[in-house]
């Protein structure tokens, strides 16, 4: 059932100066058709920007393709950079049109699409609505969400890209660097059981660990996660190094950090990837390939239990990232409550992965990969209490 949308219309007067800017951009185009396209795209971007200014949502034109003469010429773009969040596409429509044309050029790397109806005299515009994503050139206006949804959509996204580039969120300072919570955390935040008791104290020791990760990579699975077995399984029972395996040896780059970086970038096993990242982090915490980790103190939000949510991001190749979400007890608590769930959901709120607290665990976690522009949310719930944080890669 389609719900009738009765939100008041948001009608925006178009300034003469905006029309002048649009006209200047249009004049740079080689054809009438392209000039008209650029004129209307420019107006749609400026109208949206004026509204966002009033809504106190900071945006910036200087980095936009719509503000770059090269991009305007070679592609059909009307993007507006929302600071810290990403690019919002502002598409123009004419009065009476039922569909908004969304060119293939702008189907990716957008945080959403706003449709702006520009009247024929170009003196007034109406914000028609918003869509989170598009999958065809024709976006039906009847399917648009009211603009309130745009504000909801823009409010909570945490952008992984800014984390990886070490930019702190402007909109929220609640996600901390890991170090800021030390002392409150029962166990080191970024430590896997298999590595907890292992000291990378000697080159030999490091070599053994790196070697085992490589061996696991080739054998297709990791040995037991228990620290003792991890330690015990280094080398084969007869004392011969697993380097004896020619496949392992050939794949092993000459130095440990390079070997670990290679593993982080190339393995398809998330368990091995994060163990390699942990090993690299222990050897060299500043190495860029160790990614970033941020932690959020959830306070007593869920069942009055003090917890922290840690999110780690490892940049991979081809604009992909590997993400680790882990829930920890904080402060005096040493165990998570039974029944607690950690859920990762896709942009549409469906098809998620779920991790539940099992007896004996003192944390729960999920690992997954995604590519630039993808959205997901992490949800923590127990009985009626829940907490959701939204992210974009």
């Amino acid at each position: 059932m389609t719900i009738p949308i009765c939100s008041p219309k948001t009608v925006v007067p178009i300034h003469h100066s905006d029309r002048q800017t649009a006209e200047n951009f249009a004049k740079q185009q080689p054809t009438h058709k392209q000039a008209d396209k650029v004129y209307r795209n420019t107006l749609a971007v400026m109208i949206t920007k004026h509204c966002l200014d009033i809504l106190e949502i900071p945006s910036d034109l200087s980095e936009c393709d719509s503000w770059n003469p090269f991009s305007r010429l070679v592609s059909d773009v009307a993007d507006l950079h929302i600071i810290d969040l990403g690019r919002l596409e502002c598409r123009p429509v004419r009065p009476g049109e039922e569909y908004c044309y969304v060119p293939t050029d702008v189907w990716e790397d957008r945080i959403g699409y706003v449709v702006v109806q520009i009247d024929s005299s170009c003196t007034e515009a109406t914000l028609r609505g918003f869509s989170v994503s598009v999958n065809s050139e024709k976006l039906a206006l009847s399917q648009l969400q009211p603009l309130e949804q745009l504000l909801i959509h823009l409010t909570p996204i945490k952008l992984m890209k800014t984390w990886v580039n070490n930019i702190l969120d402007r909109l929220s300072n609640t996600w901390k660097e890991i170090g800021t919570l030390s002392g409150l955390i029962y166990e080191p935040v970024f430590t896997f059981p298999a590595l907890q008791h292992i000291a990378f104290d000697t080159p030999e020791r490091t070599e053994q660990i790196v070697e085992q990760l490589y061996a696991s990579q080739w054998s297709g699975n990791l040995k037991s996660n228990k620290p003792s077995s991890f330690r015990g399984s280094v080398g084969s029972p007869n004392g011969k190094s697993q380097f004896g395996n020619p496949k392992v040896k050939d794949a092993f780059p000459p130095d440990f950090p390079a070997a670990l970086v290679n593993l982080i970038q190339t393995t398809t096993n998330e368990e091995i990837r994060w163990k390699a990242a942990e090993a690299l982090w222990t050897i060299n915490p500043d190495h860029p390939a160790t990614g970033v980790r941020r932690v959020l103190d959830l306070g007593l939000l869920i069942a009055e239990q003090h917890m922290a949510l840690m999110v780690g991001v490892l940049p991979l190749q081809d604009q992909r990232v590997s993400i680790l979400a882990r829930l920890y007890p904080l402060g005096q608590q040493t165990r998570l409550l039974p029944g607690l769930k950690l859920v990762v959901l896709g942009a549409d709120g469906s098809s998620g992965e779920v991790a539940a607290r099992k007896s004996g665990d003192n944390y729960i976690q999920l690992k997954f990969t995604g590519k630039l522009g993808e959205r997901f949310s992490i949800n923590v719930c127990l009985n009626g209490d829940n907490f959701t944080e939204y992210f974009m890669i």
Binding site: T31, W107, I152, G299
Partner: protein, 204 residues
């Protein structure tokens, strides 16, 4: 470091479980509105909006709240998976504040300026792009759709430039492949190369 976050979820659940139109529903709804108002989480009144006007905005917003929290009578129903209750109602309040500001502005009565004719001479950028296409032609032609050497980066970029501006539908007909296949190839292979060219040419 501790932050105790007030959750409105239990009261929302309680409200929506009451039968529509019942006095219990009204009572719970009022309680919810009271708690939200007292929580300090509502969008602040901008200093240049008079208190009476802001109260009008709030009044409209609470009507929206009551109609759509549980049932979605005039807008999509509140969805706890997407946002908290304060974020949801604040979005509506903020949009009405936007409308308020826009209404205050006088409609511009400046003359309507028609779009001037486009330049007859292509600008330098276009010349530069065309020169790059020719210079890198062989390289760009090597990147093609599987089993279709004629559908390559060179051809697609050239045909999509404003000087040619051949529609996707037309291109798909000419090249006898589905439009979606062409567009996918264009996004994956051509757009990144165009961007790279823009950087090399000093425009990006």
């Amino acid at each position: 470091m501790n932050m105790v976050v007030q959750s409105f979820t239990p009261l929302v659940d309680k409200t929506c479980k009451c039968p529509q139109g019942s006095t219990q529903r009204d009572r719970c709804m009022n309680q919810l509105i009271k708690e939200l108002t007292a929580s300090g989480k509502l969008w602040h009144r901008p200093h240049n909006i008079p208190e009476t006007d802001y109260q009008d905005i709030l009044q409209t917003s609470w009507m929206y709240f009551a109609r759509n929290l549980c049932d979605g009578k005039t807008a999509p129903k509140y969805d706890a998976k997407r946002s908290s209750v304060p974020t949801w109602i604040n979005a509506y309040i903020r949009m009405r504040i936007l409308d308020y500001y826009l209404r205050q502005k006088h409609r511009p009565i400046d003359p309507i300026v028609p779009i001037l004719p486009a330049r007859s001479e292509p600008p330098n950028i276009l010349g530069d792009v065309l020169a790059w296409l020719e210079r890198d032609r062989a390289k760009l032609q090597r990147v093609h759709l599987r089993d279709h050497s004629e559908i390559n980066c060179y051809t697609l970029i050239l045909n999509r430039l404003p000087t040619e501006d051949i529609s996707w539908t037309q291109l798909a007909q000419n090249l006898e492949v589905p439009k979606e296949t062409l567009q996918g190839f264009y996004r994956r292979e051509c757009l990144p190369r165009l961007r790279e060219a823009g950087k090399q040419l000093g425009y990006l």
